[in-house]
Subunit: 402 residues, 4 copies
Amino acid sequence: MKIKDAEVVVCSPTRNFVTLIIHTDEGIYGLGDATLNGRELAVAEYLKEHCIPALIGRNPFDTEDIWQYFYKGAYWKRGPVTMTAIAAIDVALWDIKAKALSVPLYQLLGGKSRDGVLVYCHANGTGLSHSIEEVHRHIELGYKAIRVQSGIPGIEKTYGVASKGKKYEPATRGLPQESVWSTSKYLNFIPKLFEAVRNKFGFDIHLLHDCHHRLTPVEAARFGKDAEPYRLFWMEDPGSEELQESFRLIRNHTTTPIAVGEIFNSVFDCNKLITEQLIDYLRMTIVHGGGITHLLKTAHLAEIYNVRTGFHGATDLSPVTMAAALHFDMAIHNFGIQEHMPHEPLVDEIFPHAYTYKDGFMYPGEAAGLGVGLNRQLAAKYPYQRAYLPVNRLEDGTVWNW
Amino acid sequence: MKIKDAEVVVCSPTRNFVTLIIHTDEGIYGLGDATLNGRELAVAEYLKEHCIPALIGRNPFDTEDIWQYFYKGAYWKRGPVTMTAIAAIDVALWDIKAKALSVPLYQLLGGKSRDGVLVYCHANGTGLSHSIEEVHRHIELGYKAIRVQSGIPGIEKTYGVASKGKKYEPATRGLPQESVWSTSKYLNFIPKLFEAVRNKFGFDIHLLHDCHHRLTPVEAARFGKDAEPYRLFWMEDPGSEELQESFRLIRNHTTTPIAVGEIFNSVFDCNKLITEQLIDYLRMTIVHGGGITHLLKTAHLAEIYNVRTGFHGATDLSPVTMAAALHFDMAIHNFGIQEHMPHEPLVDEIFPHAYTYKDGFMYPGEAAGLGVGLNRQLAAKYPYQRAYLPVNRLEDGTVWNW
Amino acid sequence: MKIKDAEVVVCSPTRNFVTLIIHTDEGIYGLGDATLNGRELAVAEYLKEHCIPALIGRNPFDTEDIWQYFYKGAYWKRGPVTMTAIAAIDVALWDIKAKALSVPLYQLLGGKSRDGVLVYCHANGTGLSHSIEEVHRHIELGYKAIRVQSGIPGIEKTYGVASKGKKYEPATRGLPQESVWSTSKYLNFIPKLFEAVRNKFGFDIHLLHDCHHRLTPVEAARFGKDAEPYRLFWMEDPGSEELQESFRLIRNHTTTPIAVGEIFNSVFDCNKLITEQLIDYLRMTIVHGGGITHLLKTAHLAEIYNVRTGFHGATDLSPVTMAAALHFDMAIHNFGIQEHMPHEPLVDEIFPHAYTYKDGFMYPGEAAGLGVGLNRQLAAKYPYQRAYLPVNRLEDGTVWNW
Amino acid sequence: MKIKDAEVVVCSPTRNFVTLIIHTDEGIYGLGDATLNGRELAVAEYLKEHCIPALIGRNPFDTEDIWQYFYKGAYWKRGPVTMTAIAAIDVALWDIKAKALSVPLYQLLGGKSRDGVLVYCHANGTGLSHSIEEVHRHIELGYKAIRVQSGIPGIEKTYGVASKGKKYEPATRGLPQESVWSTSKYLNFIPKLFEAVRNKFGFDIHLLHDCHHRLTPVEAARFGKDAEPYRLFWMEDPGSEELQESFRLIRNHTTTPIAVGEIFNSVFDCNKLITEQLIDYLRMTIVHGGGITHLLKTAHLAEIYNVRTGFHGATDLSPVTMAAALHFDMAIHNFGIQEHMPHEPLVDEIFPHAYTYKDGFMYPGEAAGLGVGLNRQLAAKYPYQRAYLPVNRLEDGTVWNW
């Protein structure tokens, strides 16, 4: 089998997705997600001009060689654009291989290691009482694990919280909005939120929380300590992650489990976090972390050091990545949990998929390959529209961390 | 002063260059190089779609705020495409500021710290005797420091060595060529090359050598040790650089000075190399390392830890980066050496510049700002043409390191 | 432009200040503060005899070269007298450069990174109730952050607390007074003070506290832990700072943020504190830390390691340093907070300045350079008068730490 | 006994010396050297204005309390000016105490631990053959250990080497001269020098060499390795010493013993060098390292870690320090060697002393106290004259290390 051609499809059904389609001379094609939230067109161009021409004629079964060709063989390595492009190629090749062998992808990754994939959902409230309503609503939907976020008293707009009755997407159309952030207001409020949630719903449900990288290391250490009585499943992205050593400080002060990695792009972004056991859950995604080939190696390293996976799974990843993650989650030993933020119905229509949700668990399905298709006619009706995450500034105007 | 608009110009006068032009409402404009060898269009797209629209209306003097806006303010950080785009913006803003204040850029970076910038050139031979001829030729040109490379007996084509009488460019038009590499042939030959060069030219000339990341750490340690009698100024890029700790092994075995970093994109790619003093020279470039704002911080870190700069300066960087580097080299205290590979005359015509070479030294010149212009009419005659560095495979076919 | 001459002016309008004036052949002059509390004349002599003669004829734009000339070029480095003298020269040169280019100094340091500079003030009470009154009074003045100190029951005289109705200056005229200190009385009292302040004023105001180096590491660890419920913005100078490793013990036990450095004189006094992330805020001042050139390098190091600035800003620094700090604070990314202890009106009259305070923030102003002048006629009326900080002894007579 | 008064005498018999005289109410006085080469008047002023007034009335036997009063009791610690002033006070008090008890000082420091003090001398030649002559001349004078320095071919003026037939002083009258330095020329030449000296004089004489801080860590590592065949007693001051960690690199590569510390001012400048055993000999002097009280503690730390003393003893220290060092060397266990550069006869006349040299050894003598006097009438004839060490620049004009 040989790669005959490849195409990049950019569409925006409520939000932007970049999809790579690799065609083979035997008619089998594979899909890869190449969506990089807010940097979509740079990846599309990277694939179209700099990768696809070099793919033609290669054997799609050579997943390792092709991965190394674009990583070690290239002068430029690492970074979000590069690794997202490599991931899209890699996932599409695994999709082709599994389809060619007529098995669901998880069979090529080690088979079934569990019955289903434990997922967590998002309960986002505009404030304490609304957040409690949202937790309640998601418990009713069967979720066993819930990430709780809330508007912060005194902060006008908190990322990830929509106005009541609306849904939020991790990106807003147009240029980046600028929001104001106050760490001290946040730190004063959040422990009260979890105290209230635990008082209301007890300790049988898993609660998670995402700090969105906003804290300095010592603030994160304080937060972890303050949150201990509420037994978080994890605190996510407590602070900037470029300097892996900075997690030592957090880790010294708290037993609240730590999850990081949704913005990581290779094992070199987390090798110290893992080998020093500074984290408990790795969130690096298949689409941004170099694909299945590279993430398998990273998950294998994590297994040795007692770190489990907890992949990012917001709607900024297309159903192609969601499917790839579920196959991966099903197969590896050190799976922990999977984020689940359901796509809009239109997105599911454009990317029809075999995976399903039931009672707090998800299942990749038994279709060959990833089990995801692409309705190109429908996709074509929703062309790319510029959309971005907001930029945060402190109250004095200083640009602050994502 | 406000930013009114910005444009990206891609041209290919013998090789591809991506140039950012930022225009202000007061008529002053600034130039930034955004060339990422072999990934040019991804950066161009990144700038056009994802950065320029957010630049309009900002004060170009706010170099720090704008840098942080695109780095800390953004979800996606680091990596070659991202940091090259940020660098292009940053350099163009510094060009504007220095022009607005009517001083050459180095004055804003601390003034003159030396009389001129020591540079090294390339002597690349097809084999031992041709390399010796090339060294001789460059000594005649006044160079005080010469990087010596050579074709390796038994390897058909060695990167960086053109056929006799031709020049080499770090990229060849068309898709990536695949070359064969043999570390053992290389390691057996290169010490003999330097023995011959020292026997012929003595010890008063500085000799450098570039390993192009091809060695494993223990091979690099052996190479450094073998090269000690020939007193290399440095051994460059001895091996893969993603894992900074791997330089401990090299460093333990040899006092041959080490230079790395031309593929680094932020301080986080080298913080351990610097603070553990595993290297002697940092080669991260202004264009790929986030611009002047970020490289100043990195150079300041390096100064504390006795690491000096030795910026990459091959023709894969446009004259805009060459000028920025020379101003930077002139001003900082811990300058070491600057690579100098002259551009083709056509490139110099398209980018007329104030910097000059004389007797082994370069000088940024006294024009306000960077002192570089862009002849857009001429540039327009040379549109982008696909060109890539080769991919290396071992003799058994394994993809090998860049 | 060339340096034509330089003079040192020592005056004592309520307290001593040493000011360096550098004159150029183009009529532009620059001011540098050289005040070293209680060691004023040693610095004045150092400048007059050992530095000024070597300055004449140099180009004032060469800030880096002149800094290195007096630091690396000299046999004697580091230490308070040396680094204060170098700082005075450096600040005066930056003042000249910014004036020559007709921009406020912050523009040369990266432009505006925020709208204004968050400052903290001093509320010093003779005891608990007086301290609470003082906190209240400063809240009314608009401050968002307040350092709270108090007389300690059982200790006759606590440094930094004036008798009721009087102001304190960090120095008393005449020879050093000797005071008695009791760590155990202090440790028993201060947490109660903060409990009372939080009960009265809630958690929306930032509270800081200065330990004036009086604690051993394990005592500081205890203090930090005891203070956690009161959410200090920071604990300052918990213990002796010569041995950077000693902060590991403090850091292991508490998440109370730590600020140190007002007596530091170079990056080598804090490189380990920063790279091991043992502190959160660096207080090394521009005047005692080698000036803008050296502090920029140190702040850049701190940025990488998530350490922010919190410069010392008591009245023992002249308005020249206050202005330099505000420009610096405005420009760098990793600014945290700035100390603000207003000078006596007479001091402001002798040093007329562009900087202002409003509603908890300060602003450097838009005058070219530092924006500070010196009224020499008025200064001449207030000649130097010996004044010192007190020396502390334990209750058994042992000399104790500053 | 009480301190009645103290005076500072600055004189310049061929070179500048600062001497502190402390008078007691019982007529006994003590001498302390306060000479800080090229920064003399700053220390003189520091003592006169900031220390002496606080000394009056204290008991001169309270050496520990008075030391702590000026160190821990003061806000400003460390650094050359501060610690030289404290040292002068401390040495003068020890002189008083020993005189009051009618014993030579060494008796108060532990008595005699050896018969005499092994010293090394300076053989400085303008080039290879002159250096060999100088070695020969010093062997004839009975020296068992010789520091060999030489003019470097291709460097116009090398520090520490006088024109033939003249003596050199570590300082030249007038403002600092600027010299040119080339590390590569130096590194190419010095091993040849020692090869020649060993060929001529064999291995029975101790040979030392001083690098004057000119090398980077990796260059120092190379130098140490290159020098191994010539069995140096030590390599001195191989590089910058502010960053103690940088000696790890040197230490990893060579067994050439290392001596550092003549510019150190407290134990905090060398605590890591000692506890990590990165050096073999500590050169911190009594006059610049806080006096006998502080240096005893430092030597005691060094003893634990197998580091021996090798005090700086050039003519930039007055005979008062030479005497103090010889008493110290006689008494402590971990004495290694003592530098001996004889003063000009006029200096010995102004400071008549009990110490003597014979056959490669020195002896402190048996006079009470330090055994040094001060001829004030004669001293008064030689007032202070400005004199400085040169400043070094690299061949490209960059300021280089002292």
